[in-house]
């Protein structure tokens, strides 16, 4: 009678596993970029601030200057390596600080009801502000540089972490086993740290990579405006700033820093998406 069941059984296909490709590609790109950044801390082909007018604007592929030289004869390879380092450091620091502060306040808001309103309204206010304008003002009043940029980015990334942490904490706090823990006299804050943090950590890791990417983009934008990273430091956005200021948009050197940013950001976003799929509880249940 049940021929259908038999024929279906014979034709069954293993579920198409959700591809791990984004995770692998994203992680690889990120890793390569981080490695380039680390190498640049110990070794670069040439000092990024040493100019040599006799070798201005060398083309790509010149021996000793793989990516050529700029309008002052500075080595582009070295600048690119250093620029990648700057992007990674600033993006990661801003994302990490926001993660740290945001998680703290998010958990406070979720577990201490008196603090909920004030914290969330403050987050709303920061969220609605045009961050770049503030960064611009900040950079020109207290001076541009690493610290200012990281500070500005952190201020505007933190609310997103506060929201995510609070929302996820609220969800976990409403689960049954939490009520049991409460019956045993645990404080909400203790429960949040003990039970909620492990539960929301995967969401936060994903959020971290996304804001890492956002940090890279924002730093590049600020440096392009000339209010982020300046000489003697080097950043990818700043290289584009110099190229456009000095030569104009036709400068072939305008291509590489931009490409560097795009690759790094795509890598991070892929990593974030990949991690999200990897952590997704619905998905992992299904895989069983």
């Amino acid at each position: 009678m049940s021929e259908k069941l038999q024929s279906v059984k014979n034709s069954l296909k293993r579920p198409r596993k959700k591809s791990r490709l984004p995770l692998i590609v994203g992680a690889s790109i990120t890793l390569v970029m981080v490695i380039i950044g680390v190498i640049s801390m110990f070794w670069i082909p040439q000092d990024v601030n040493v100019s040599d007018p006799s070798i201005r604007m060398l083309p790509i592929g010149t021996p000793h200057h793989l990516f050529g030289t700029d309008f002052l004869g500075r080595d582009v390879t070295s600048m690119l390596m250093t620029g990648v380092r700057t992007s990674v450091i600033i993006g990661a620091s801003a994302a990490f600080l926001s993660l740290f502060i945001g998680t703290l306040f998010g958990m406070l808001a979720a577990s201490i009801s008196k603090l909920d309103e004030p914290i969330m309204r403050t987050a709303d206010i920061f969220m609605a502000m045009p961050g770049i304008i503030f960064a611009l003002v900040l950079a020109s009043t207290i001076g541009a540089g690493y610290v200012t940029t990281i500070f500005a980015l952190t201020s505007f990334f933190t609310p997103a972490f506060v929201r995510v942490t609070r929302a996820s904490s609220m969800r976990v706090l409403s689960e049954d086993y939490i009520s049991v823990a409460r019956l045993y006299g645990r404080s909400r804050l203790f429960i949040t740290i003990r039970h909620v943090l492990p539960n929301v950590s995967s969401i936060l890791i994903v959020q971290f990579t996304i804001y890492f990417a956002a940090g890279v983009l924002s730093e590049a934008g600020l440096s392009f405006l000339g209010v982020g990273i300046n000489r003697p430091s080097v950043s990818l956005g700043m290289m584009l700033h110099e190229a456009v200021e000095q030569i104009g948009i036709t400068d072939p050197l305008g291509v590489w820093p931009g490409l560097g940013i795009v690759i790094l950001v795509i890598g991070l976003n892929l990593l974030g998406d990949g991690l999200r799929d990897y952590f997704d509880p619905r998905f992992s249940q299904r895989v069983r």
Binding site: S2, K4, L12, K13, P15
Partner: protein, 324 residues
Amino acid sequence: MDNFALKVEDLVVYLDDLIAVRGVSFVINKGERWGLVGESGAGKSLTALAIMGLLQDGWKTSGAVLHDGMNLLQASDKTLSARRGRTMSMVFQDPTTALNPVAKVGKQITWILRHHMHVTQKDAYEQSLVLLNKMNLPRPESIMDSYPHQLSGGQRQRIMIAMALACYPELIIADEPTTALDVTVQKQVLRLLDAAVTERNCGLLLITHDLPVIAAMCENVAVMYGGRIVETGKISDVFTNPRHPYTKGLLASQPTLDNIDLDGGTRLPSIRGSVPPLYAMPDGCAFAERCDFATQKCKELPELDNQIQQVACWNPVAEARKGA
């Protein structure tokens, strides 16, 4: 014209390598009320959704679902959507999420009438009022002008039923239509459904965990377990004289006058163990792990036998064993 409202033949529903419904067959004649019972996860909802062609993306089907002169499993979304709401309709479990939150109730009901019956807006409006009236909804005009969030769960479920009945379908499927409602409202809603079937002579497939409801409303019952129908027949036969060990356990775990222990409240026997998960569904009888009568033979898949009260079991409960 067929005299059945629905004929399901060897329906298999699966997602990738998980088979949730494993060969289900039954016929619902016009005017017939069928109850579908079974433990959570038995595949009741998926059977219903497969019939309606409303399975989520990724689910596949095999077998045949005959209704309105065609095999619905092979019909396109367009063909199906011309039937849904007109010749067959479905009432879902949770009325709080089942109505479009941004459209007025009136718009949602009249759309069905205008779409399927091609009546004017004015006629659709009048007919909707009549429908709501029949559903014992007071002040239908104001209900037509309300958004779902302004109404109670019971009101919303009545609206859902009104929508399901709007075009005089041949078949109504109700998937736990009262689970989300409180007890007094449950009765009223079921009575409405019951009256509608009588009045319109349509087929009803009522999915519920509430055996007394089925006993009160339906003529026939199918008991599902592990994606299969394990026992089916007339209510009077199945409920008084269960032949499948699972049905027997299910009935024994219902509170009745017999098993209320007057000294110490109720002590209901429950079936030990739990339904095997889909990925670990045995090839043989799905109930074997929990069955007191299991034998070597049960490693093979039992089919429904040819009795009037059909059972799929190698060692069906005999009349004599009933009391044991």
